[in-house]
């Protein structure tokens, strides 16, 4: 802070007096501040605390700087002061009183993050109080930003989790009813169906990795259809066709099953007589195209739009959910396409890129 007397005339005496917050080198100050904020991203218990303390010490030109979380054990840069016990006592005192404490050269300030005590900044050395206060404010802002970022990330993850396809209770109870009905009359068949049911549940609950392969999706569909055939009997006729070259294509879990479920629920169940469902997977240039087609009741295209927009009522959340997941993974061009008209059946088409960087089966 001192301007050497024998180096007159100083070209910028006023600026020099303002150090360490000198405007002489804003780039260095800003980058040091950013560095501190980055290191505090994970909070006062994170791995960057020592580096942050080092940064604060350089900015303040203090002898020692310590950052403590609520445990009251400061992380020091470069090392604890000679009278470490006095510093620790001061930290305890500030944690207790939640107001600033100590007297120069040893000063401590509480750090309130979102109005709650989160830790203490301790400074040892000839540093102006105002500078220490500004530094403490900066640290608090960095901590608050870090918390916001972490919670935004959690929110994004929670949304993806919430978008996972859900097991349909309607189907679960139907399947269990059929299986229990067959236990005494056809024990072998009921056992077979029970194993199918276990596979269905296992696949639906799979949490490992976000992506699966077309091969596994089709296999899961076949298990699901085996159970549906037990429930619906002669009323359901299904054909599943998949071209081998798309088997290895990666896609999010449970894209197909809600579409097939929808076809059965809205196309087959409400009508009399046999309904046909055709599920196809094939390559079209660089895309893999999967379609689910039924010859059931069909619907007004405007209603299909409502359903895709998630306004179709609780019965059809499945389709809107798949649509959103596909768009969030592959971009806005890769949503579902629904072709339908009243009395004309329904065809739902999924188009996904065959080769997508970053999308790997889990």
């Amino acid at each position: 802070m001192a301007v050497s007397a024998d180096r007159a005339p100083d070209p910028a005496p006023a600026r020099a007096r303002l150090r360490p917050w000198s405007r002489a080198d804003p780039v260095a100050v800003l980058s040091a501040a950013r560095h501190i904020a980055d290191e505090l991203k994970d909070g006062l218990t994170g791995s960057g605390v020592r580096a942050a303390a080092r940064g604060v010490r350089r900015l303040l030109e203090a002898d020692r700087v310590g950052l403590a979380d609520l445990s009251g054990r400061p992380v020091w840069a470069p090392a604890p002061p000679d009278d470490e016990q006095a510093a620790k006592d001061l930290v305890e005192e500030v944690l207790h009183s939640e107001t600033k404490g100590g007297r120069p050269p040893l000063v401590a300030l509480p750090l309130h993050v979102h109005h709650e005590l989160a830790g203490v900044l301790v400074v040892y050395g000839a540093v102006r109080r105002s500078a220490i206060r500004v530094a403490a404010d900066w640290i608090v802002e960095a901590l608050e930003r870090g918390m916001l970022e972490a919670s935004a990330e959690q929110a994004a993850q929670a949304e993806l989790r919430a978008l996972r396809a859900e097991i349909s209770p309607h189907f679960v109870y139907n399947a269990l009813t059929v299986i229990s009905a067959l236990v005494s009359s056809e024990p072998d068949r009921s056992r077979e169906l029970m194993i199918d049911f276990a596979d269905y549940i296992r696949y639906s609950l799979a949490r490992h990795g976000e992506y699966t392969t077309v091969a596994d999706e089709f296999h899961a569909i076949e298990t699901y259809l085996a159970l549906q055939r037990a429930v619906l009997g002669e009323r359901l006729s299904v054909q599943v066709r998949v071209a081998p070259e798309v088997l290895a294509v990666a896609l999010p879990y449970l894209v197909l099953q809600p579409l097939v479920e929808n076809a059965i629920r809205h196309g087959i169940e409400p009508r009399t007589g046999t309904g046909h469902v055709v599920v196809r997977g094939e390559a079209e240039g660089n895309d893999c195209v999967i379609s689910v087609e039924d010859d059931g009741l069909g619907m007004d295209p405007a209603l299909a739009e409502e359903i895709l927009a998630g306004r179709g009522g609780t019965d059809s959340v499945g389709l809107a959910n798949v649509d959103r997941r596909l768009r969030s993974v592959y971009g806005p061009w890769y949503g579902l396409v629904v072709e339908t008209a009243p009395g004309e059946g329904t065809r739902v088409v999924v188009r996904i890129p065959r080769f997508q960087p970053g999308v790997m089966p889990g």
């Binding site: 091969a215 359901l236 599943v240 070259e245």
Partner: protein, 255 residues
């Protein structure tokens, strides 16, 4: 050869069921049961087992730990894990397990696992590499003339008594040879057994089709090939592996 096996599971009902399925299998001659990992280790020490079917989640030593102890034996038995969760699969194969069965167990998956165990045990069969690629084309007689049918032309093979019928775009050609022999020769070239009486060329499969009754067909340009339940998994896995390796590029298939 028939196998002497040990089943290990700490849940009594699950152990009984596993033993029942093993006893029903013609590939198994002798089944022993252990209700906890320690008695399993004791039994393995005193007896000789070709294979051990191990539950993974058990108190004390879990199945993975038991297996890694077994691999230290001079002649370790084949290990098949039996578990409810798929997340152990990677670790299981890391230990060198022959197979990995999910609970509840399907009889045909168990049969598949037993087949894998038998394949792993060196059989007293002459090695098939004796005729390296002498079978890339087969002579067929038609109207008194002999011509050669290239393996690359053939889309699937159908057994017909001591003969096989080779289905190709150029027609159906009959050759005197049992299908099992042809499978040995052509297996390495991408022909897969999909049924007791059928071999199919992986790169000739245009579509897998399944219908309401649960039957599976491999569709080729010269007709549909039935796929039996016990071969379905093998075919799917082979096709998936071929697709991953980019070996199913349509443009390469000849007419």
């Amino acid at each position: 050869m028939t196998l002497s096996v040990l089943a290990v599971d700490d849940v009594k009902a699950a152990l009984d069921e596993l033993c029942r399925l093993l006893r029903e299998s013609p590939a198994v001659s002798d089944v022993s049961a252990a209700g906890d990992p320690l008695s399993a280790l004791r039994m393995i020490q005193n007896g000789r087992f070709d294979a051990v079917f191990l539950d993974i989640s058990m108190p004390g030593l879990d199945g993975l730990e038991v297996a890694s102890l077994l691999t230290k034996l001079s002649e370790p038995p084949a290990i098949v894990f039996v578990t409810a969760y798929e997340q152990h699969a990677v670790a299981a194969f890391g230990i060198g397990a022959v197979d990995y069965l999910l609970k509840p167990i399907r009889a045909e998956r168990l049969a598949d696992a037993l087949m894998r165990i038998n394949r792993g045990i060196p059989a007293a069969r002459p090695p098939s590499e004796q005729l390296p690629d002498a079978m890339a084309a087969l002579p067929v007689e038609s109207a008194g003339r002999t011509r050669y049918v290239r393996r690359g032309e053939v889309m699937f093979v159908e057994a017909h008594g001591d003969y096989v019928r080779l289905h190709a775009m150029s027609g159906v050609h009959v050759v005197r040879m049992p299908i099992s022999r042809l499978e040995e020769y052509w297996g390495p070239a991408g022909f897969v057994r999909v049924h007791r009486g059928f071999l199919v060329a992986l790169d000739a499969v245009r579509e897998l089709r399944s219908d309401s009754v649960g039957g599976l067909l491999a569709h080729t340009d010269v007709g549909d090939v039935p796929v039996s339940r016990r071969h379905a998994r093998d075919l799917r896995e082979s096709l998936l592996a071929a697709a991953r390796a980019g070996r199913l590029d349509r443009s390469e298939r000849r007419v």
